[in-house]
Symmetry: C3
Subunit: 137 residues, 3 copies
Amino acid sequence: MALATEVFQVRTGAEPAVVDIGYRLATFVRGRGDGLLSVFVPHSTAGLAIMEVGARSDRDLLAYLRDGMSPDRYRWEHRHGAPGHGADHIIPAFISPSLMIPVRGGAPTLGTWQTVVLVDTNVDNPVRDVRLSFLAA
Amino acid sequence: MALATEVFQVRTGAEPAVVDIGYRLATFVRGRGDGLLSVFVPHSTAGLAIMEVGARSDRDLLAYLRDGMSPDRYRWEHRHGAPGHGADHIIPAFISPSLMIPVRGGAPTLGTWQTVVLVDTNVDNPVRDVRLSFLAA
Amino acid sequence: MALATEVFQVRTGAEPAVVDIGYRLATFVRGRGDGLLSVFVPHSTAGLAIMEVGARSDRDLLAYLRDGMSPDRYRWEHRHGAPGHGADHIIPAFISPSLMIPVRGGAPTLGTWQTVVLVDTNVDNPVRDVRLSFLAA
């Protein structure tokens, strides 16, 4: 049995962004039966979250990351690129770049209001890779 | 090989709650040998954590979520239901609704002081679903 | 098919520490083909993160955990051991002790700047266990 894998790219642009990638996951696992889906971002300044979008919580998250993390308040030791870039590097410790989702009958078992989003506060990298890996049961 | 699955419900009540569900996991994997256990909450305002309970850290977590997230301080764009409900929607970005635990000989490999808890700050949804999925090795 | 498992120890010492364990993962999965790697810490005051090290972001993370969590500001209900120890117990709710990484051709699919670190703010436990479990595809 192989680990089915696909890597696709997401344009996150030059502003902090929360991008819905749920439809990519649904398309990838369609017809694959039961198993576990890994979603993985091979970048050190981006993360993945399962949340609702479309009702402004995605904007709330970005506002919270900016105000709650207060990138300007800290004297980050890692400093280069855009202001507050030091914070971009610690966000993945809290919003992990690795996520697992159970799959049943070729569909992710996400709830009605859940989708998977790519969280990217780094304004210096406008395109990101996402790796999907499916381990069939 | 199938993905063994069970969905059960947890009463989290009308107050922010941290509910120990470790015994449900232990019961579910008993006799199943080795593999990976996925714990998944199909809700957009709840999360899962691995932590100690019984020594008041669960209460500390709820206090920290209330004071650290300061739901009253932010003007959440997502606003309806109970005050501070906007924060409920971003907590799962930090306390993920998806968790994986290795299983050996029919038992989760949790440490002595670890258990799995459901974290639910949302006071408007008193009952939650939890999905367990076991992929045997 | 078995779940290949290894438990190793990491010395985190008597200061808050971020310890790179990426080379241990790489060594463990070498020659194992495709599958999913679980990294798990069986302790209630330590977590795992995927991040860059070597450019001071690891120090930024520790500084943020100290200042952002403000262990001295809160009256943690769980209190014993070193000052601020109550915070050590809630950090794993945010920096989970469980992590999954897809493996392809005997290598973790980490990005160029990513490694896996053990995050341990607890100064009272200088040695930690880490469990690696590989489920082959």
